[in-house]
């Protein structure tokens, strides 16, 4: 007797499709590669001169550069292939027509959404933590070479320090949430082009807008922005330009965006013909 098409079978079917599409591998490799490469570029470019104004360089505790954040900043660009990954996971099946076979096999359509969301979270979380751990480990020696040493007021930070470990894991969680957001938007628009434009606009738009906004609106926009709030987990030093939200609360904001996208996607998936 055939087993019922439960969530575990939806997961396995999703996984087979996920790993057998070449673009998936490429986008994950690109996500890791861009994150590490851009993180290292930031580390090579930054110097200790950018400390707190009026503070003599070299005095202990004086510099306020965030060595953890700088080595993880690559995620600001590395998230782009991850967005493409999430969107394409949703839209490719509509473009090729396989979505009809998928839904015929899994008539409870929200299971397909849940299975794909689970897959994305698992894969991107691993890739994202790997990318940020590598960024951190390769970036720190470069920063040391640029003068970020204890004598200049910058204690050596290890990957096992709670703040650094939290920032690295948090960056991985952020990337997974953004992938889910992208997947949800892809399910809603069913078009790769528009979904990618919408998600990238949603991520980068508030950051550009907040350059001109004045208080208190600036703070509100930053706190509500999936990218600015979500990546606040990378901050380990008090700085004037920090997004005014705690790291975990910021990830909560990103998670809320992802959740809204998935709930809306499940609703649309059930209501519309394919």
């Amino acid at each position: 007797m055939p087993r019922r098409a439960g969530t575990s079978r939806a997961l396995r079917a999703g996984w087979t499709k996920f790993r057998s599409v070449p673009s998936t591998t490429w986008l994950i490799v690109a996500g890791i590669g861009v994150t590490v490469a851009f993180g290292l570029l930031i580390c090579s470019a930054v110097d200790t001169a950018g400390g707190t104004p009026g503070c003599a360089p070299g005095r202990a505790g004086c510099g306020d550069e965030d060595v953890v954040l700088n080595s993880l900043g690559g995620a600001y660009l590395g998230q782009i292939p991850i967005v493409a990954l999430g969107v394409l996971l949703a839209t490719t099946e509509y473009a090729t027509g396989t979505i009809r076979a998928t839904f015929a096999a899994m008539p409870r359509r929200s299971r397909v959404v849940i299975a794909n969301t689970t897959l994305l979270i698992g894969v991107v979380l691993v890739a994202g933590v790997a990318a940020s751990a590598v960024s951190f480990l390769l970036g720190q020696p470069i920063l040391h070479g640029n003068g970020f040493v204890p004598a200049q007021g910058y204690p050596i930070v290890s990957i096992t320090d709670p703040a650094a470990a939290r920032a690295i894991l948090g960056t991985g969680v952020y990337l997974a949430l953004i992938a889910v957001l992208a997947f949800g938007v892809g399910q809603i628009t069913r078009r790769a082009g528009s979904a990618i434009a919408i998600v990238l606009g949603l991520l980068y738009g508030p950051a550009i807008v907040s350059l001109l906004l004045q208080e208190p609106l600036q703070e509100t926009v930053q706190k509500l922005s999936p990218m600015m709030a979500g990546l606040a987990i990378q901050s380990t030093v008090e700085r004037a330009d920090n997004v005014p939200i705690g790291g975990l609360a910021g990830l909560g904001v990103a998670a809320a965006w992802a959740a809204v996208a998935i709930v809306a996607a499940s609703w649309f998936v059930r209501r519309r013909d394919v």
Binding site: F38, I42, A45, V46, D47, A49, G50, N70, G73, Y76, L77, I80, P81, V83, A84, V87, L88, T91, A95, R191, A192, G193, S194, I196, A197, L200, G201, Y204, G205, A207, I208, V209, L211, L212, L213, Q214, E215, L217, A240, D241
Partner: protein
């Protein structure tokens, strides 16, 4: 224009205007730009200065066109779709059978996209400027620090018309990228990233690298909106900035046209 070129342009016009996505993206360009500008103008005030800003140096013209920072995303999508949708549906084979001279077919597409993008851009920037004016006046942007400006002032005209040109160049840039990769998702990702990401990651850099990034960014053309000396202005003048965006557009179109002629459809 030869008869065949004229007919090619007519054909492209019919195709582009009958695509629902053209209407949607056009509405999005105008709507997002004007909406964001109105939001910014209605929440602006003359007393709050950004870090390093001098009192009274807000650029009311640039601020009245600020919404373009987001509206341009829809313009990029329009340009990309104009080039890739025929490859997605397969109609490109009918198009190239009807117009076997591929250079003519590509040139016709470029002409139509340029025309439509400029029309959308002009409506967008004029509407954005006009909507912002009364909101700025209401928030204290008045003489003596902020004498009122009008659409016919030379600097305003340069900013408003220049913004329309800038949006046209961006659509052509996206079209060139799309002709190169021939895939909507890839073209949109590349083009949107290039117009949004440089501004965001600029914050990580100081000194030479920052300046190099500013010179290399396709959004350099936004400098055409500058009408006042400010600490955060880019390190080049308005027309040089627009020229940088034009270089991106021309570069992408040349490579796109070359590949368009060389590859099978």
């Amino acid at each position: 224009m030869s008869a065949i070129a004229r007919r090619a342009v007519t054909a492209e016009w019919t195709k582009l205007r009958s695509m629902p996505s053209t209407t949607w993206t056009a509405l999005a360009v105008v709507g997002i730009t004007v909406g964001l500008t109105a939001f910014m103008a209605s929440t602006s005030s003359t007393d709050a200065n950004q870090a390093g800003g001098l009192p009274g140096d807000d650029d009311v013209v640039a601020n009245a066109l600020f919404g373009v920072w987001l509206g341009q995303v829809a313009m990029v999508a329009l340009g990309a779709l104009a080039a890739t949708s025929e490859f997605a549906t397969g109609t490109i084979r009918a198009t190239l059978s009807a117009i076997p001279r591929r250079g003519v077919a590509f040139g016709a597409k470029v002409t139509i996209v340029a025309g439509i993008a400029f029309a959308i851009g002009a409506v967008t920037s004029v509407a954005s400027f006009l909507v912002a004016q009364p909101l700025q006046h209401g928030n204290g942007y008045n003489a003596p620090a902020y004498p009122h400006v009008s659409l016919t002032d030379p600097l305003v005209l340069r900013a408003v018309v220049g913004t329309a040109l800038y949006l046209t160049l961006l659509a052509l840039f996206a079209m060139g990228v799309a002709a190169i990769v021939r895939h909507t998702a890839a073209a949109t990702t590349v083009a949107v990233t290039l117009v949004l990401a440089p501004t965001v990651v600029l914050g990580f850099f100081t000194g030479t690298i920052r300046e190099v990034l500013q010179w290399l960014s396709p959004v350099a053309g936004m400098s055409i909106q500058v009408t006042r000396d400010r600490f955060d202005n880019p390190p080049y003048g308005p027309w040089v900035g627009l020229g940088l965006t034009a270089a991106w557009a021309i570069g992408a179109l040349l490579v796109g046209a070359w590949l368009w002629r060389r590859r099978d459809a």
